[in-house]
Each structure stands twice: as structure tokens, then as C-alpha cells.
Amino acid sequence: MKLTMASSPHNHSHKSLTRLMLSVIAACIPGLIAQVFFFGTGVLIQLVLSLVAVSVFEAAIMLIRKRPVWPALSDGSAWLTAVLLALSIPPLAPWWIIVIGCLFSIVIVKQLYGGLGFNLFNPAMAAYVLLLVSFPVQMTAWLPVTDLINTPIGFADQLRLIFTDFTASGFSLDQVRAGVDGLTMATPLDTVKTDIAHGLTVTESMQKPIFNEWAGLGWAWVNLGYLVGGLYLLKAKIINWHIPVSFIATLAVCSAIGYIASPGTEPGTLFHLLSGATMMGAFFIATDPVSAATTNKGRLIYGALIGLLIYLIRTFGGFPDAIAFSVLLINIAVPLIDYYTQPRTYGHGAVK
């Protein structure tokens, strides 16, 4: 009788890479729903665009690298990158923005470094930063909450905006973005930053219609959506608690200290936690396993450093939000963090 030989262990947990990636994508859904609800369906168009783009780019680069296409594509990592990127950019950004982002993240940040598992930087965030510094106008053209838009636009007009830069009635994105008062509205983070720079207090700034009592209108809900998704990821043991907890805790502590020190110019903890991409960053971006620290101690340090950097850049830096910059900067430190946070192996060191 011919027997099959194999190396132990002969059993497996049935966890798979694809399932892992798809679970993360699924966990994005609450945040996505909130985004669609408050900022319109543009994000869905970007999502479809990015998914198609990454699939094409991933397949192309695998063919060029003479590797099998399907295994790479089906692991779902490219799709996750696409989803994160689509959720990060302004919903009505022109189509080529997301395409360039996908090209950069898949081909350069991931595959040119050796493919999945070898990339030093978070592909979605590297692409985001590339787009932000290259196309600052398009990348900061966020819509205000749908309720505040002067002339609400439908799905067809959003499509036209993305692909032709104009709605059917000939409005440009800038005109569409104008609020009821006729002024172009920025994101809450941006608004507070600008107002403080103009000598207003945070309280005065937050009198503006884009805010509710604790954070930006809509943005708070989007953040809560990602928090829910993140809690699911923790529950499903897809991510470890270390990074999000240290990330959020550090940001909370820093903003609290700032608020106590200077209540007039500091928007406070809740504002920081529920503005911009804080929750998405904490649960979906910083936890990207490939580019994050791998030891538990290292993850705590990694998350804390990102949280600290976010607070510093938001408060003192030139950009309103800082998730992408912080993550990329701390990505660089990962090998060092990992090296110095090796856990004590059984039987080594503090043996009683």
C-alpha cells in the first residue's frame, strides 16, 4: 500500500489568507455605510474603480514577474488595499486619482518590494501620501455632509464629476462643495486648524455648521462605524488589541494633556478620536500585519508612536490629518522595534 508522507503537524486551523483579508474588508462595512450616508455614494464609485484597478495592476505585474496570477490576486490583499484607499480619498476625486493611487500602491509599494509580505510600507497609505503631496487640490476636496450642500447632487452627477469633473448642469466640484453660505467648506480638522491659526478659539470655531457638539458632523459617525468594525476584528482575533489600544490611548492622553494645558486652542480628546481617520487608522491601517511591528511589546510601542505622531502633526504640523504620515514614518522603525522587543523565550533569562 502506498502511503502519503507529510511533515507534522498533520492538522491545520483552516485559517486562510483570503478569509483573513476578506474579513478585514467586511469589517470596513459599518464605516462605509456611515460614509455613504453622510457623504454620498461617491465612495462606492471610488470603491468599484479601485477594485478593478488593483485587480488589473496586480494581474499585470504578476504576469510581468512571471508568477501565477490567481494565487496572488485571490489572497485578497490587493482588494483590501483598494478598499482602504477608496475609503481614504475624497469621494468625488477625479477617477485618475484613485487609479494612480492603485498603480503606486500595488506595483511600486508592494510588488516591486517583492510582493505580499515583503513591503516595508503600508501600500494604501503610501499611495495616499503620494496622492496628497502630488495632487493636494483634488486630495483635500472633501464634501461637507450632504445636508449642508447647497445643491445636492445625485449618483449620476457624482459619476460625471468623477469622470468629467463637471455635473450634468455644468457645476464643477468646487461649486458643488460650496456650502449654504456660498463658502467652500473644509473638513472639521482642517476648519479647526485654520480657525485657530486665525485667532479663533476652538469653541468659536465649533460654532460652525459642520460641527455638532463634539466633533465634525458626520465624521464622528464614520469614526464610530470603523470602531464597530475594529471591535469585530478584535473579537474575531483577526487583529491583536495591542496596536489599536496603544494608538488610541496615546492619542487620547496626548490630546487630554493638550486640552488641559490650552483649552482655547485644543479641541480635546473626543474631537481627536472621532475626527479624520482616527478609528480607521487605529483598526484598519496601523494593524496591517505586513508593515506593522510583530511582537506584542513592539506593537504597543508601534501603536503608541503612531498615536503620538498623529497628535503632534495634527496640532503642530502643516497637515490637518496625519494618519498616513504617522503610519509610514513608524513603518520605518518596525525592524528596530521588532529587534529590541523580542519576547523572553521559555527557559531564558528570569528563570526562577
Binding site: 500500500m1 503537524p9 498533520h10 519576547p343 523572553r344 527557559g347 531564558h348 528563570v351
Partner: protein, 778 residues
């Protein structure tokens, strides 16, 4: 410490990091009681079923053996015997595929059972408490018991641990899925297991015995608790079901919160771990006198009709177990020996079970996941979360793939227990354990190679050093002479001159002796400074002594010649005659030297008579040879005057004078040497016998050399006389051979004077050189 004991007694169980929860699958096999298999047709008993050396064979082909009869006897350290599992005939003793991942053939005794299952006489013990420590150890050893949990470590070695044991831990955890052999053993034989524990308690006298059982075996826990009720030093501890809690190190952490040092053994922290099955075997050996010839094997898996536990004789083919329990193989069937996490697949079912075989698992394709294709590692670190040793499997994997062995060791690869938890949880289905195994083997090979290379290098370096040292010694010998010359010789010449004066005036020997002593001391000091090696100094001293003895005689001779002042023409003939006389005297001196040499062994080295005698004989022979050479030289000189006759008288006289002067000088130098040599024995006195013997031998060897030198000096005389005959050939010819000289005598009277003068100069130079050599040797 007291606190720890209390905590343990209270039932505290600690946790180890990581661990996984694979499907248990235990209910497949633990519901039925243990059955006994029908006797197989063939038993393949491998000689090596444990860690350690094979036993020595006691049986031969064709021999009839009884059940329990030893087939081997312990032959070396860690060697345990194997026994005939049933009565029958040894049909063959040959290498057979072994129960090992590679199925490497292992020498096995093949027995065909006769069906009678007839036991040898068993030596039962009703009350083991009466047995001494050594008796118990011997019983356990002779019963062939080795660890039945997995590694197969000889139990008698562990039971005889000299380190104090605080906790005796019984590993009844059985954390591997599917396996229930220990579970059912405890259910059915709890009393015997406890008796086995008590024997171990008797041997090791631990403070406490802790039996660790996973909480998925409630029946076993109950049975054991009941059986251990009478013994307060045994506690049954329930541990949570988490793989790999049955790993020795993990169990120790669970039960005592201690960690076995990375490069240590449990005994180092006062802990000893035994497997349940092993303790049952110990009980059987001590109480029943039965050697280890059978064990419980779980035969399970979805392809088995009647999964369950069986008593299987060691050496029973796996095929027999599968057949008896009913087996419907699926395509690409795999058969695993051991559990699904750490067991290994077998290449054939024609392998006999061994002492460590706890499970035969024949799964179908549904129950155990087929290994999928390996994908890229995404550094999710699920492996690190699962690792019970707190390693970083993910990083180890990268290092293993890139063959960074130093990094692997830095990340403690060798603390990996290969439990497979990391590979189990890996979403990329990377066969991590396989990578570690390969890396470990490669590192071990590399280390072995390195040790080999280091040894070779050491040898090479030692050889190189030795050669260099020898070379240097040789050079030193050459170097030191000229160096010594500058300082020593000037003084020596001065002294010699002074002595000549003294001697011609009043021949005050005492002053000469005193001067010699002073010189000897100076020399000794210098010698010590130059070369602190005493043996070298001793050798040289002995040499000098020996030379001195010989040259002493010559000196007196040369002194004579020095005193004879050649004036007129006729005197050249006289000088020649004198030279001849000297040569003769020198020969006599040599005879003396010979005698001295023959006497020496008795004087200097009263150690080995035989050796001394031989050495003396050799020395004598050599001395004789030297004497013969001298005779030759003498003849040469005696011949010379005749050939000289027609030559210019004046020149001859001058040459003779020079020769004589030189001889005198040489003699003076020799005399000094002699005196120093005479001095030396007193200095040498405390040197031990052996050294003296060596020195004597060396001295004898040098005596030969000295004789040659003497011969040379003899030759210079005739040569110089001969120069007058204006034979350039003689000047050029090697002064070593007197025959050349004789040939060279044929005078060529027609030669011009210039040439003759040149030749004379050369001859003089040579004489000088020889003289110097004589000085140096002294």
C-alpha cells in the same frame, strides 16, 4: 518556597504562553475499554527503541525464546535491553524498517510466536519497600523501561538522578488530539500507576508528586484521585485542555510555575517528569517482574472501523493493529505514528511498534486538513501568539529561508519544541516546523563541520608552530655562536694570551683555573640570558665538557709544539716531525676520550644500565673511528715533509711557524673550554639523573663531532705545510678528507709564487676558521 508548595497543594495551576485548541477527537477512541489483540504471526523487535546505545545481542538465529526473555543486555551507558514479547523462535536477526520518520533500517530480532505465549520465570516482589535503591534501579533497568511518552529516555537513568528532586511530576496530560492511551490506562489501572509513582517516590524522595491531567479526562482524574487517596504526597492536578500542555517544559510551567533553563534539564530545578505509561511499566516490572514487552496503543482515525485502545506486544506490525481494528484505506491514505500534531507519517505499515508508540492514526481526508500550498507570510504573528516557548516563529521562518543561522540561534531556534502550534495557526499554511527542522539539522551539521575544521586548524597550527620553533632553534644555534663569539671570544683570546704568558713564566695553573671559573660563570650567566632553556644549556655544557676532555690532551701536545721555537731551515723538518708526533698524541687523546666516554654513562647517568652500555659502545666505536681518521691525518702529515723537501725552506719554516702558532692558539682556546667544562660538573650537580643521561648521550654524539673537528685541525697543519709545495688544488680541496690531501701532495714545482702565496693565504684563512670553530664548540 513554602508558599509555592502551598499554592500547588491548593490546586493553583499557572499558564504558559501561547497554545492552541485543535479539535480533540478523543471520543473516537476513549469510550471502549482496552482490548487485547490476537497474537501476530511475526514480531519485529528493534534493538533500539530508546535514546542511548543498543544492547548486546543475547540470542541467535533459530533459537527458541520464552516470553519476557531478554534478547539483549545493556552494553553501555543509557543502554536498555529488549525482551521477547512472546515465546517462539528467532527466525532472523536483520535490519528492518524502524519506527522513525525516515524508517531507517534498525537491527531487529524477528520472532515467530509459537502460540504458547510461555513466560520465563518471573521474579515478583510483594513488598517493594523492602528493596534497596540499587535493587530497584536494577529491576527497572533490566526490565528495559524507557520513557513511553515520546522521547524514550531510559527510565533507570532518570530514576537514579543524584540531584535532589523536589517535585515528581507525572505527565498524564495527553494533550495531543486523538490519543487516549494514557486516559484509558488511568481509568483501568489507576492503582498500578499510583504504585509506580510510589516506587519513584521511594527512589527519589520528592517533597511532592503532582499528577497533571487535562480537564477533558474526568474519568481518569476521578480514578486517579481515588487511587491516590491514601498518599498525601500525591496530588492530582487538573490542567486546562490546551495544546501543548503535555510538553515537559510546558507542564512544569503549568504545575510549578518554574521554567527549565534553556540548556538544562528538569532535574536542574529539582523536578523530574515521568509519563503515566512509564510508571505503569515500572509497577509491572517491580511487582510482577514483567519486563516491558507490551503497551497500550490508540488505534484511531475515521478509516478505522473499531477505533480504540489495544494492548499490543512490542514488535507487532502496524498492519496487524490496523487489520484487527478494521481498516478501510482511502486514496492517498496516510498512517501517522503518534498524534496529528507531532506524530510522523509512516512509509509502510510493515513496521513493528516500539516502546514509544502511543497511537496509530489513520485519518481520512476530511478530518485532518490537507496541507494547502504555502503562501507568503504576512507577518500576522498568529504563530508567535500560539508559540508555547515565546519564540517568534514568523521571524525564525524568514531567517530559516534565508539560511541566516546566526540569527536563528539569536532568536533561540533550539528552544523550539516542534509542537507544531505555529504551523497549525498559520493562515499562509507555511510548514514552519519543517523549516525549523531543516535549519536545526543544517546548523548542527555546520557546527560539527566547524568543530572538525577547528581541530584540523589546531593541528595545522601546532605543526606550523613546531616547525617554526624548530627552524628558529636551528637558526638560534647558528646565530648564537657568532653572537657569543664577539663577547666571549675576545675575552677568551685575552685570557689565553695571558695564560700563555703565565705559563711560560711560572705555569701558574691556579690562576688559570680561577680565570676559567670566572669565565664559566660569566658564560653561564650569558647563556641563561640568551636561552633560559636549561636543557639546551645542559646539552651544551655536556658537549663542552666532552670536547674539553679530548682537547685537553691535544692542548698539552700543542703546548709542546708552541714551546719549540723553530729557527733555522732544518727546523721545518723537525716541525713536521713534531706535527706527526702531535697527531699521534691527539690519537692517544682520542683514546682517552673514548675511555672517558665509556666511563661516562657510569658516572653521569647511573640510570638505565642497558642504554648506557649501548651508548657507551657506540661512543667507543665512534671514538675509534675518530682515532682512525686521526691516524690518517697523521700519515698525511708524515708524508708531507718528504714532499716538502725540495720546496723553499724559508717559506716552509714560516708556514710551519704560523701553523704551530695557530695550533697553539687553538689549544689555548680549547684549554679554556676544558676548564670551563671541568667547572661545569659542579654547577650541573643538582641536575636530575634523566637529564644527565640525556646530556651524556648528547655529549657522546658531540664527542664524535669533536673528533672530526680535531681531525680537521690536524689537517690544517699538513695543509699549511703543503701550501709551500704550491699546489692550489690542496687549498681549494675539502679539508675534511685526508685522502684529498694525499692526492694534493703531488707537488707542482713549476707553479708560480703568486699563486702559492694566495693559496697560503686561503689556507691560513681556513685554519683560522677552524680554530674559531674549535673555539665556538668549546
Amino acid at each position: 518556597m513554602e508558599k509555592l508548595l502551598e499554592q500547588i497543594k491548593k490546586g493553583t495551576v499557572w499558564a504558559f504562553p501561547g497554545g492552541i485548541h485543535p479539535p480533540q477527537q478523543k471520543s473516537l477512541s476513549n469510550s471502549a475499554s482496552i482490548t487485547r489483540l490476537p497474537l501476530p504471526d511475526k514480531l519485529i523487535v528493534a534493538l533500539k527503541q530508546h535514546i542511548g546505545a543498543n544492547g548486546k545481542l543475547l540470542v541467535e538465529k533459530g533459537q527458541h525464546v520464552l516470553k519476557g526473555q531478554p534478547l539483549t543486555e545493556p552494553a553501555a551507558n543509557w543502554s536498555v535491553p529488549v525482551h521477547a514479547p512472546s515465546s517462539g523462535v528467532v527466525t532472523d536477526i536483520a535490519p528492518m524498517p524502524s519506527a522513525h520518520p525516515s524508517a531507517l533500517p534498525e537491527l531487529s530480532v524477528i520472532i515467530e510466536p509459537d502460540g504458547k505465549d510461555e513466560w520465563v520465570a518471573l521474579n515478583k516482589n510483594k513488598n517493594p519497600a523492602e528493596l534497596s535503591h540499587d535493587e530497584l534501579i536494577n529491576i527497572i533497568h533490566q526490565a528495559g523501561i524507557s520513557g513511553m511518552g515520546g522521547a524514550g529516555f531510559p527510565t533507570y537513568v532518570k530514576a537514579d538522578t543524584k540531584q535532589p528532586i523536589e517535585f515528581l511530576i507525572v505527565n498524564a496530560v495527553e494533550c495531543e488530539p486523538y490519543i487516549t492511551a494514557d486516559d484509558v490506562l488511568m481509568r483501568e489501572h489507576a492503582k498500578e500507576v499510583i504504585q509506580g509513582i510510589e516506587i519513584m517516590q521511594q527512589l527519589l524522595n520528592p517533597t511532592l508528586c503532582i499528577v497533571g491531567i487535562e480537564d477533558n479526562k474526568p474519568e481518569a482524574i476521578a480514578a486517579m484521585k481515588q487511587a491516590a487517596e491514601h498518599n498525601s504526597k500525591i496530588i492530582i492536578q487538573t490542567v486546562p485542555t490546551i495544546y501543548p500542555s503535555g510538553g515537559e517544559k510546558q507542564l512544569i510551567k503549568l504545575l510549578t510555575n518554574r521554567e527549565v533553563p534553556s540548556i538544562g534539564i528538569p532535574a536542574d530545578i529539582g523536578i523530574l517528569v515521568h509519563n503515566t505509561g512509564t510508571l505503569f511499566a515500572v509497577q509491572q516490572a517491580v511487582y510482577e517482574g514483567k519486563p516491558l514487552i507490551e503497551r497500550i496503543v490508540t488505534v484511531t482515525g475515521n478509516t478505522i472501523h473499531k477505533p480504540g485502545n489495544v494492548w499490543a506486544l512490542l514488535g507487532t506490525e502496524i498492519k496487524h493493529l490496523l487489520d484487527c481494528q478494521g481498516f478501510s484505506p482511502v486514496p492517498q491514505q496516510s498512517v501517522v505514528m503518534g498524534g496529528p500534531m507531532m506524530g510522523f507519517t509512516l512509509p509502510t505499515v510493515r513496521i513493528g511498534i516500539v516502546k514509544t508508540t502511543n497511537c496509530i492514526l489513520a485519518p481520512d481526508h476530511k478530518e485532518l486538513a490537507e496541507p494547502g500550498p504555502e503562501k507568503a507570510c504576512i507577518r500576522c504573528s498568529a504563530c508567535a501568539d500560539a508559540c508555547p516557548a515565546s519564540l517568534l516563529p514568523q521571524q525564525l521562518q524568514w531567517f530559516a529561508k534565508s539560511k541566516e543561522y546566526d540569527k536563528l540561534q539569536e532568536h533561540n531556534l533550539f528552544d523550539c519544541i516542534e509542537c507544531g502550534a505555529c504551523a497549525y495557526v498559520c493562515p499562509s499554511e507555511i510548514p514552519l516546523v519543517q523549516y525549523y527542522r531543516i535549519a536545526k539539522v543544517e546548523i548542527k551539521e555546520q557546527q560539527a563541520d566547524k568543530i572538525k575544521a577547528d581541530r584540523a586548524k589546531e593541528r595545522f597550527d601546532a605543526r606550523k608552530e613546531r616547525l617554526e620553533r624548530e627552524q628558529e632553534e636551528r637558526q638560534n644555534r647558528h646565530k648564537r655562536k657568532p653572537a657569543a663569539k664577539s663577547a666571549d671570544e675576545k675575552q677568551k683570546v685575552a685570557e689565553a694570551l695571558a695564560r700563555v704568558k703565565n705559563k711560560s713564566d711560572n705555569g701558574d695553573e691556579k690562576s688559570a683555573v680561577a680565570a676559567a671559573i670566572a669565565r664559566a660563570k660569566a658564560k653561564k650567566q650569558q647563556g641563561e640570558e640568551l636561552e633560559p632553556d636549561n636543557s639546551e644549556v645542559a646539552k651544551e655544557r655536556a658537549l663542552r665538557k666532552e670536547q674539553a676532555r679530548k682537547y685537553k690532551e691535544q692542548k698539552s701536545q700543542t703546548d709542546e709544539s708552541a714551546e719549540t721555537t723553530p729557527v733555522d731551515d732544518k727546523k721545518s723538518a723537525v716541525a713536521a716531525a713534531i706535527a706527526r708526533a702531535k697527531a699521534k698524541k691527539a690519537a692517544q687523546a682520542l683514546d682517552n676520550a673514548e675511555q672517558a666516554a665509556s666511563e661516562e654513562p657510569q658516572n653521569d647517568a647511573p640510570v638505565d644500565d642497558k642504554k648506557a652500555a649501548v651508548a657507551a659502545a657506540i661512543a667507543r666505536a665512534k671514538a675509534k673511528k675518530a682515532a682512525q681518521a686521526l691516524d690518517n691525518a697523521e700519515q698525511a702529515t708524515s708524508e708531507e715533509p718528504q714532499s716538502e723537501a725540495p720546496v723553499d725552506d724559508k717559506k716552509a719554516a714560516v708556514a710551519a711557524a704560523i701553523a704551530r702558532a695557530k695550533a697553539k692558539k687553538a689549544a689555548k682556546a680549547l684549554e679554556e673550554a676544558e676548564q670551563t667544562a671541568i667547572e661545569e660538573p659542579q654547577i650541573d650537580a643538582p641536575v636530575d639523573d634523566k637529564k644527565a643521561a640525556v646530556a651524556a648521550a648528547i655529549a657522546r654524539a658531540k664527542a664524535k663531532k669533536a673528533a672530526k673537528a680535531l681531525e680537521d685541525t690536524e689537517q690544517t697543519q699538513p695543509q699549511e705545510l703543503q701550501v709551500d709545495s704550491a699546489a692550489p688544488k690542496s687549498a681549494e680541496s675539502n679539508t675534511d678528507d685526508s685522502s684529498v690531501l694525499i692526492n694534493a701532495d703531488k707537488p707542482k714545482s713549476a707553479e708560480d709564487k703568486k699563486k702559492a702565496a694566495v693559496a697560503a693565504a686561503i689556507a691560513r684563512a681556513k685554519a683560522k676558521k677552524l680554530q674559531k670553530e674549535g673555539n665556538n664548540q668549546s
